[in-house]
Amino acid sequence: MNVITVNNLTKYYGKARGIIDVSFSVEEGEIFGFIGPNGAGKSTTIRLLLSLIYPTGGSAAIFGKDVWKFGTEIRKNIGYLPSEVFYYEGMKVIDLLKYSAGFYDGDFTERMHELAEYMELDLKRRIEDLSYGNKKKVGIVQGLLHNPKLLFLDEPTSGLDPLMQRKFFNLIREENRRGVTIFFSSHILGEVQRLCDRVGIIREGRIVEISDIRTLQENNYKKIRITAPDVEPDYFALPDVSNLHAENGTIKFFFKGDINTIVQKISGIRVKDVTIEEPTLEEIFMHYYER
């Protein structure tokens, strides 16, 4: 079952581009990574799905219901961690969490203490006195407090130290194991790679690729480096080769296609050294960015 279905969603802010023709779906129980550079439209997409803003065109549904018509109802089962958290001034952490919990059905006192203890968050502090990272922790606890079925995380790790990041990832994995669907937006590939099942890449407002994270990494591209003093890089200018360039006498490129073609090509020249390896997600990503 699809938890999120997005069809041709388009958003312009006046004349400025938000997102264009974005379509994707997220299945129940998966961790969907949403990656792209700053300003690509990641936050716009999330804000549309939370009905904070209205679309210029297209449609979106969460739990099978129209996002804008049933926003209030849908939001009962949604948790959201914005990239920057802002809360009311003059409130203690515990007051804010109780205030937030008061909008959902059920008693979340126990869970609040568990989450706060796990994230090492002091409930008695005043929110405006907290550091950026500690505010983020308040956001994490607040977003998870009411046992949401769907979590939106927008650049969730910024401000958290590595130890806290690891704890946070474990928490997210644990939630996911209990069946929570996670929409994970980030520009840091490492964390997407660690956590996500599937990934959508967005660039300048458009989706450029949606695929299984392993497919993206294993089946598509080989990163090839060849050190051959007497050969011009143009020798490898084949239709399946991309990013072809030479650096200090070493020819580097990505190859996508039948591996035999390239092996035969290499066997035709005298080489000093050859490496063929999986590109990191980072490199694939850069490849999408620069295209």
Binding site: Y13, R47, L50, L52, I53, Y54, G71, T72, E73, R75, K76, I78, Y80, P82, E84, V85, F86, Y87, Y88, E89, G90, Y99, S100, G102, F103, Y104, Q142
Partner: protein, 264 residues
């Protein structure tokens, strides 16, 4: 209910400041009044003023040497303060969520935008009612030194109703500006601009030879202290007009807030 009580707490400081100002105004005002009270010389001095100025300050209707007359003049300030305070409360209570970037928290909670507007409008209304009551009580206390008669209390009650109505109109207007304007920074200043504009119109319409329709353009004219004193009651045409303005503003506030993008 949560939103309502949180807003009340958040706005308490502002209410206290405005109340402090109005109490100070009444204290200083009545201290000055002690120079006018039962002083026929004062009347002569006032008679020497140009009539247009006296009219603009509504000094023509009132006998400044009586406490009732003095509070008739004070109403000008009550009305203005009520208008400014209410317009600020109305616009700020909505737009501050965008200014302080808390919309990404408060509007992701499972509440409809209409419910948010309702709760916030009620909190601002409570503030306004409290402000008027505090003004009322402070006026009664301050008048005690000058042996007010029953007529004073009746007139003061009328003034306070009028002050509440002016506040209500500008509260609704402020609410509309807060809901409708994406540029939250401009909501408050636009509200103050409208207040000054309508106040200016009310001064102009008080002058001779000004077009008659002007008086319908400014809420300050709907509740003119001189008219209240003469009629002894609120004018029903103006009351109806006020009600229409308030209903239109509030309906438009809900309508726009439910349809617009939040500024994040």
């Amino acid at each position: 209910m949560n939103i309502y009580f949180r807003e009340l707490r958040a706005n308490l400081k502002s209410l206290l400041i405005w109340s402090g100002i109005v109490i100070l105004l009444i204290v200083i005002g009545t201290a000055k009044f002690s120079a006018f009270t039962d002083n026929p010389e004062m009347l002569k001095i006032l008679d020497a003023y140009p009539p247009a100025l006296l009219k603009a300050m509504s000094l023509k209707t009132f006998n400044l040497t009586t406490i009732t007359g003095f509070f008739g003049v004070m109403f000008l300030y009550f009305g203005l303060m009520s208008a400014i305070a209410a317009a600020m409360w109305g616009s700020d209570i909505i737009s501050k969520e965008e200014r302080n970037k808390t919309v990404e928290f408060s509007l992701v909670l499972p509440v409809s935008r209409s419910r948010i507007v309702t709760a916030k409008a009620l909190a601002a209304l409570t503030n306004l009612a409290a402000f008027v009551l505090i003004t009322w009580v402070a006026s009664v206390v301050a008048a005690q030194n000058y042996n007010p008669d029953a007529g004073f209390y009746d007139f003061l009650a009328l003034e306070m109703q009028a002050m509440f109505m002016i506040g209500l109109i500008f509260l609704a207007l402020g609410l509309l500006l807060g809901c409708a304007m994406k540029q939250y920074k401009r909501a408050g200043s636009t509200a103050v601009g409208i207040i000054l504009g309508t106040y200016f119109i009310s001064v102009v319409s008080g002058m001779q030879k000004s077009p008659d329709f002007l008086k319908y353009l400014t809420p300050f004219k709907y509740f003119d202290a001189g008219e209240l004193y003469r009629a002894g009651s609120l004018n029903s045409v103006y009351l109806l007009l006020s009600a229409v303005i308030i209903v239109i503003c509030i309906a438009a506030a809900y309508w726009t807030y439910n349809r617009r993008d939040l500024y994040i």
